[in-house]
Point group: C2
Chain length 335, copies 2
């Protein structure tokens, strides 16, 4: 086994996925891809937190239906979100009688959950696992920044928390293989501006990408796309610069889920999207269908998380970040 | 593979552990067991959050030293705590250049982290993993309840958050084997009193224990002890009643880490200890040494977590809970 790379030799595949999103995500350039949306962002609930939980429930239920799977077949849930104590997941998945692993990786949680589910499935511990993550603009905004009613002006480098939940069903066989993965190391490079999380997370993404290419011996030419989630426009350009300085040019195939989900021209989202739900819904409903058809043969999906809290920012701490990498291949093109 | 029980056939063992605790834990009946303590609870830091992070760093460093291990040998960290966005772990383990999986399972995180580390090691993904968890009374109190200066009166059913961090080194071979594990299912039985988390968590513990004995075919006679962490006196007695109603009597060998860590006579901790750090330090420094000598041959260690947040309580939600079970055996007495 190559050190630091998890190889899923026993087999791991994303067999199905589903997404639920809010108004702005539905109005964005990928809007037609998503399975469910609610233009009120409330999903029939009377608090934003309940709305976020409901999105998770709906996304997971839809993924189960697409996989023609019964709740009983799923032997483990790997789930997380951005809310304090991860209540989006704990309440959202409470209806399901399935063993539950709670995760916290900030916006990297989608990649982290897929990685852990793939470990369990590939090693034969279980046959079917699910990975579910979410974020909600309104629940995140009042928790991390200010009450919505305050109407605070946003910084140009600020990202917009995506209202969305993504759910993935993982089994050992399927059209889209999780071939290998590299868990991230937490890095902190002195950025302490909570309105510029892209800058805080870009070094973590660079660290994982450089380690991956170094250890695996692969190169960007082996992939049709390298997608981070979610550095946004600010962090994405910093990442490309950091990698160029190390002699690695990924610009031709690079994109970021936070740059893809909103229209920069028509929607005023500043530096792009962010949140556990952003990379989850872009992967579930935009990238995965292209991997299934072979339009994308092989991609790297890199979840990036800023691991600070409002308290740590108030206490003057810099922002630690982590980036988890997952290599996904159409089964015909796997390594 | 038996459904729902993770069997670590490839081998998983707790080869070393270490703990760091605060003043009251050191003054308690297990006080002499713990590796490090600071009677100021500050560990040389100027905020409670930094103190909690520093405890994690110290506990992990001490565990590494006991294992005569180098940081480079540890291929993955599984870590979590109670603070918003799990900053205790993200900052506490930032110094280490090791892939990091962030977890959130409330007080069940110690068991969750040991379970996940054992999966990785037993399946051969990595050779050495570490599980690190913490809680701190002062950082938890102001986050979950009221500022310390407010001096709020505590309910008789309230538990006292333990100031402590525990770290475990997991490899495939060792004197104390992680034989099998059962991840918990989130359950919610209508308890919405945040001052009585024992009552909220007891049904989750009962659910996992009943499932475990039912699926494994084992019985309480197979074990020298069944330890929950942390139901406290209130939750512990409810658990025994719930199990008795199902025909299972574990009282002769039952104890709870939250009942063990403080003296009920000499220390005014109401319903006992709680927090990610409680079960971690009791396992690391009290139970594990007894498993190593064979004084305890086989035990069940059941981490119990209440998955609510202050917001969810304010919004009137009941408290969901989860209980993760790990079966630990001295290598001479493993199943």
């Amino acid at each position: 086994m190559k050190k630091e790379i998890l190889e899923f030799r026993g087999g791991a595949a994303l067999v199905c996925a589903a997404s639920a999103v809010g108004k702005y995500e539905h109005e964005g350039p990928l809007g037609d891809c998503f399975d469910l949306h609610d233009s009120t962002d409330k999903f029939g609930m009377n608090t934003w937190e309940r709305a976020e939980s409901e999105m998770q429930r709906l996304a997971f239920n839809t993924a189960l239906a697409k996989a023609s799977a019964n709740e009983r077949e799923v032997e483990a849930l790997f789930a997380g979100d951005l809310l304090n104590q991860c209540v989006g997941s704990a309440y959202g998945l409470l209806d399901f009688d399935i063993p539950y692993f709670g995760l916290y990786g900030a916006c990297s949680t989608a990649a982290e959950s897929i990685m852990l589910a793939s470990v369990f499935v590939s090693a034969g511990y279980i046959s079917t696992a699910a990975a579910v993550t979410s974020s909600h603009f309104c629940s995140a905004e009042r928790q991390y920044r200010t009450p919505l009613e305050y109407g605070a002006q946003r910084s140009p480098t600020a990202q917009w928390t995506v209202t969305g939940a993504g759910a993935f069903i993982i089994r050992s066989e399927g059209r889209v293989r999780v071939v290998e993965a590299m868990p991230g190391i937490v890095v902190e490079k002195g950025i302490n501006d909570a309105s510029n999380m892209g800058a805080a997370m870009a070094p973590a993404a660079a660290s994982t990408i450089l380690r991956y290419f170094s250890v695996s011996g692969r190169s960007p030419e082996d992939f049709d796309g390298i997608y981070t989630g979610d550095l946004g426009f600010e962090g994405g350009s910093i990442l490309c610069e950091l990698l160029l300085a190390e002699g690695l040019d990924i610009r031709a195939i690079y994109n970021d889920c936070g740059m893809m989900i909103y229209s920069r021209e028509k929607q005023d989202m500043h530096a792009g999207g962010s949140g556990c739900g952003c990379s989850a819904v872009v992967l579930a409903s935009h990238l995965l269908p292209r991997l299934e058809t072979g339009a994308l043969r092989r991609i790297l999906f890199i979840g990036t998380g800023a691991m600070m809290s409002p308290s740590s920012i108030q206490q003057g701490e810099a922002i630690p970040a982590v980036a988890h990498l997952v290599c996904l291949c159409n089964e015909k093109y796997r390594f």
